[in-house]
Symmetry: C2
DNA sequence: CGGAGATTACCTACCGGTCGGTAAAGTGTG
DNA sequence: CACACTTTACCGACCGGTAGGTAATCTCCG
């Protein structure tokens, strides 16, 4: 039970981080004042400051937690697959699954880097780069196996990421389609875009989706 | 010469809008103050207010201009193609081309809708919806022709859009790849994701891809 | 078990600073 | 002089953040 890991679990502190994450996700970092966050958790501003050191640290903690989520729910799961294609499929499906989850949608906050200090931004950017490299390496393996379209690997990586990240902008839980349906379709489109026709032909179509994050 | 059309051409007013667009694109709307914009165009704040009515109107004008760009450079060009596949290809390529252009990258500002008034946001959202519908209709036609993967059309639309929009976040003019290369690859990936194998096989205006050697 | 002192969990009141926006007084040019 | 333009001087509201105080609770010695 490290203090960091407990941040989002503990009663009061947890409520602060979860509430702040939601508000920042919905209104943007700059437009969310410490006063509003404090009110949302039934506290005054100094009361809030008893728990958090400052606005930047609050954002940094949330973004770090989002990266933890990504590592646990996507990278770790994908690494269980040794076949490059199945690994890529797991990446796309798990990441898409995460972003369409109400609790997990905060994972898109890792792009709100402008509110961070230089040092904090460097640390987050470093983790993001590691994730991007993980995808790129998977694509490199597919390339080596002749299963990838003749396109640049970096471009392919960001095309995949773009499709996944964009999900959080348009998908609505209450909408016409279920999360499962959308994740299935996005995975098919995403993989179809980077793989050769042959590689797609004989592929098993369902990979494991993780359960909701533990409470 | 309508006043609106001249906004981005006229000397002083044009400089204001172009400079503000660039600053908002780089720093975000909230983090860009009217004082900074004024300084950037060698004016005091009231001097700036002589030309613009307020911050929201400034953002709205820029976003309207961005939508004008999109309509002129993407929709109008794509409509010249009557074949659904060629039209879709034109959409992807033109939009990607626009977003990788230094001047056109402001087109991504159409997503900064939070800074708008309700009425302004409705108007921009309406135009965005029209664009999305344009893509969706094109996909519907491909579906009717049996050239589309068995995936939901809305999901496919946003997958395409996600890939394109994400370009503006990672593409760097000075990078390893040229705009032409990146646009080519994104188009191939994007189309490959939504089209059936057969539809891709007979693609005319893509560089003739030799079939990969079967295993 | 009692009571002194530390610790936790907040509060009221306020700081310096910046925000978007404006009133009103020039200033230069036709 | 008239008018397009630009300035100085200034709002009120809100920002992130803090000083200093306090009620409740927990700890530990005698």
């Amino acid at each position: 039970m490290s203090k960091k890991a407990a941040l989002f679990d503990d009663d009061r502190a947890g409520a602060i981080y979860r509430t702040a994450a939601k508000m920042i996700y919905e209104k943007g970092f700059d437009a969310t004042s410490m006063n509003e966050i404090a009110e949302a958790v039934q506290l005054t501003k100094p009361g809030l400051y008893y728990y958090v050191k400052g606005k930047k640290e609050l954002l940094f903690s949330i973004m770090s937690f989002a990266m933890d989520l990504l590592d646990a729910e996507v990278v770790a799961v994908a690494k269980e697959q040794s076949d490059a294609l199945e690994r890529l499929r797991a990446i796309v499906r798990c990441h898409a699954w995460l972003l369409t989850q109400a609790t997990g949608a905060i994972a898109i906050l890792i792009d709100e880097t402008r509110g961070l200090s230089d040092e904090q931004r460097v640390r987050i950017t470093e983790r993001k780069r590691a994730y991007i490299d993980f995808i790129r390496e998977t694509l490199d393996r597919l390339r080596a196996e002749g299963r990838m379209r003749p396109v640049d690997t970096t471009t392919a990586t960001f095309s995949l990421l773009g499709q996944i990240m964009w999900l959080a902008r348009w998908f609505q839980e209450a909408g016409r389609m279920s999360r499962e349906q959308v994740v299935d379709d996005v995975a098919e489109i995403a993989l179809g875009g980077v793989l050769t026709d042959e590689a797609q032909a004989g592929a098993p179509s369902s990979a494991a989706l993780p359960e909701a994050i533990p409470a």
